[in-house]
């Protein structure tokens, strides 16, 4: 048990370390000097340039040796000082992230969890039932094969542009100011539905097909045969098969939830939805590297936390994990 957790924690710590280091290293590996780039925006005389260059390098710490810059970066990171955004000056990076986060979470978490539930039920029901299987399976493949950007264009086109049922962009009506009122909440939900639907639909096929295949395997299992031999009814056998088949799906859910923050990028880009994904694009188009770095770190933390939670859930749900902690198993 202890060895298992030590190994897990070590992996997470290393992943965090690697993530932070990549985040720090990428701008440093790129050619060009940020201070020089910044100063080239102004028409400066050589003498003035020299003096300004010196002060600016000192202010940003770019004159220090690399390892010292790296330590500074960690220090800022751990003390919660993630820097000030260039683009939304003088807002701190962390404030911007926390403002955008609720939109992303409210959009993706329900979509993924619902598609998980519905997809699993559909897949389990379709397994080894010819009529259902012949409808669910082909539909599942098509849904699985749809490129998400296309769905995010086709659905709004149909429901938004042609039939005028739902708005096709934004997180709320542009004439409203965010406030805790019924009109605003109604507007939020109204704008939320279409992006939610696209994420829900695109994930559905994968869950359904995965579950169908797993349940088929479980139904052919010796344990299922034993149950049948004991005279158990098919419903009971299926319920057991469903439970054992849920385990691999559960780790898939963990992964899907882990990439929630980063995974919303395409959705938010397509619908101009005001979440983390759009913040990333604003950071890029305004060359706001502090903001970009901050979001990257934040996403890595999100992935790590989701994985850690699922590790714990797995220990609770799957007795085999507890067993394998004692001995080596492949």
């Amino acid at each position: 048990m202890r060895r298992y957790f030590i190994r897990k924690v070590l992996t997470y710590a290393l992943a965090f370390f690697v993530g932070v280091t990549i985040d720090w290293a990428i701008p440093h590996m790129m050619p060009g000097d940020p201070v020089q780039l910044y100063l080239s925006n102004f028409n400066l005389k050589p003498a003035g340039y020299e003096a300004l260059y010196k002060t600016m390098s000192q202010a940003f710490g770019t004159n220090l040796p690399l390892w010292e810059q790296y330590l500074h970066y960690w220090k800022g990171l751990l003390t919660g000082n993630w820097g000030i955004s260039f683009w939304a000056f003088p807002a701190p990076v962390s404030t911007l992230i926390f403002e955008a986060l609720p939109y992303t979470l409210a959009l993706l978490v329900p979509a993924i969890v619902l598609s998980y539930i519905v997809g699993n039920r559909l897949g389990a029901a379709a397994a080894r039932r010819r009529v259902l299987d012949n409808t669910v399976l082909p539909a599942g493949y098509v849904f699985q094969a749809i490129p998400y950007p296309w769905l995010a264009l086709a659905l709004p086109f149909l429901l938004g542009v042609v039939w005028h049922v739902f708005p096709i962009s934004g997180g709320y009506d542009r004439s409203l100011i965010p406030a805790f009122s019924w009109t605003f909440i109604a507007s939020l939900l109204y704008h939320w539905f279409l992006p939610f639907l696209t994420v829900f639909l695109v994930a559905l096929g994968g869950w359904a097909i995965g579950m169908r295949n797993l349940v088929i395997y479980e139904l052919e299992n010796d344990s299922s045969r034993y149950l049948r031999a004991l005279g158990a009814r098919e419903r009971v056998v299926r319920r057991y098969a469903y439970r054992s088949a849920s385990l691999p799906q559960l780790s898939g859910l963990a992964l899907a939830l882990g990439v929630v923050v980063g995974g919303s990028i395409v959705t938010e880009y397509a619908f101009s939805y005001p979440g983390i994904g759009r913040l990333i694009f604003q950071a890029i188009s305004n060359q706001d590297y502090f903001l970009l770095q901050g979001i990257f770190i934040f996403i890595i933390i999100g992935v790590l936390v989701a994985n850690f939670i699922i590790d714990i859930v797995y220990v609770v749900v799957d007795p085999r994990t507890r067993l394998s902690m004692q001995g080596e198993s492949s």
């Binding site: 749809i146 490129p147 264009l153 869950w207 395997y217 780790s251 990439v259 890029i284 996403i299 890595i300």
Partner: protein, 306 residues
């Protein structure tokens, strides 16, 4: 024991997690062929895919216009322009068939890169075990956790030109952990079989045992994995291209969709601009998936319909 089971919300394909089948012995090869020819899913999927491949190859030949020529802009489909024209007046049919070629290319590069890295690390970890295994597993777990799209955005923010090769390689280098995990688990179970012990007794070296004895036993499984990777790479590439992070040289299917949003094709009802590329890509990937399931049934008797 499960295969590519990462059900990420966007652009990741899943199979169930069933135990992969063992390859048939040579004398059963004819039987496999029999089931392959008589498997409706496999035949249907393969023929459909063949149609798309032929369209990608010969599309530019039968296209009436060159991709780079200019005509009247934003025309609806007609006998002159089968899929209409875009805002610059380029013939969209010529662009789409070219985009199909790019999509296939990116998918192939991505799948081969991922398969190569994943198999190399998976076999090594599974065969050697011990400390090396721990280290490789840790690397795998770390790569899984680093969000690929965000990494690409961060790299893309600094890198000004990106080619098709870069995109394919990037996809391959971020999706290999699925292959590595599955191959490692398989190697572990095969390692303790008698025929491997026998090979060891005969004094063969480790690498040759892995290549000659272990790999052939999961050949069918690896084949399925590569096909799935091929499809998921194409979808991932479409996501990247749609965000404007794809190849800066050349036109892909995702690229066309990106251009259509940038020029508000949606609001202007220019459906011929953004609908065909996505429908084609859906068909290309769906055909692969269907063929893949058919193959799975051919290799694995348990899955066949009763």
């Amino acid at each position: 024991m499960s295969a590519l089971k990462g059900s990420a919300p966007i652009g990741t394909l899943t199979t169930g997690g069933p135990a992969p089948p063992l390859a048939p012995a040579p004398r059963r090869r004819r039987e496999t062929l029999y089931y392959a020819v008589h498997n409706k899913k496999l035949v249907f999927g393969l023929s459909l895919e063949l149609v798309f491949v032929l369209a990608a190859i010969f599309g530019p030949v039968i296209a009436l216009h060159n991709m780079t020529d200019f005509f009247a802009s934003n025309q609806a489909p007609s006998g002159q322009h089968w899929l209409g024209t875009d805002n610059l007046g380029h013939d969209l049919f010529a662009e789409v068939v070219n985009g199909m070629q790019v999509s296939y290319l990116v998918g192939a590069i991505g799948a081969l890169c991922a398969a190569f890295v994943g198999m190399a690390l998976g076999f090594t970890a599974g065969w050697r075990g011990g400390f090396l295994d721990e280290v490789l597993q840790m690397i795998t777990n770390i790569v899984v956790m680093i969000p690929a799209l965000v990494l690409l955005i961060v790299i893309g923010a600094y890198l000004k030109t990106r080619g098709v090769m870069f995109e394919g390689a990037f996809i391959g280098l971020t999706t290999w952990p699925w292959v590595a995990r599955a191959v490692r688990a398989q190697t572990f179970t095969l390692k303790s079989r008698e025929f491997v012990d026998l090979a060891r007794l005969s004094g063969k070296r480790g690498t040759s045992i892995v290549i000659r004895e272990i790999a052939p036993n999961m050949a069918s499984y690896l084949f399925l994995v590569v096909i799935l990777l091929f499809g998921s790479s194409m979808l991932l590439a479409a996501n990247f291209d749609f965000l404007g992070l794809g190849p800066t040289t050349g036109t892909s299917l995702g690229n066309i969709m990106n251009q259509s949003t940038l020029w508000s094709a949606l609001q202007l009802h220019y459906w011929w601009w953004f609908l065909p590329p996505g429908i084609l890509l859906t068909g290309m990937v769906a055909a692969l998936l269907i063929a893949n399931v058919g193959l799975d049934e051919v290799f694995n008797p348990k899955l066949r319909e009763q």
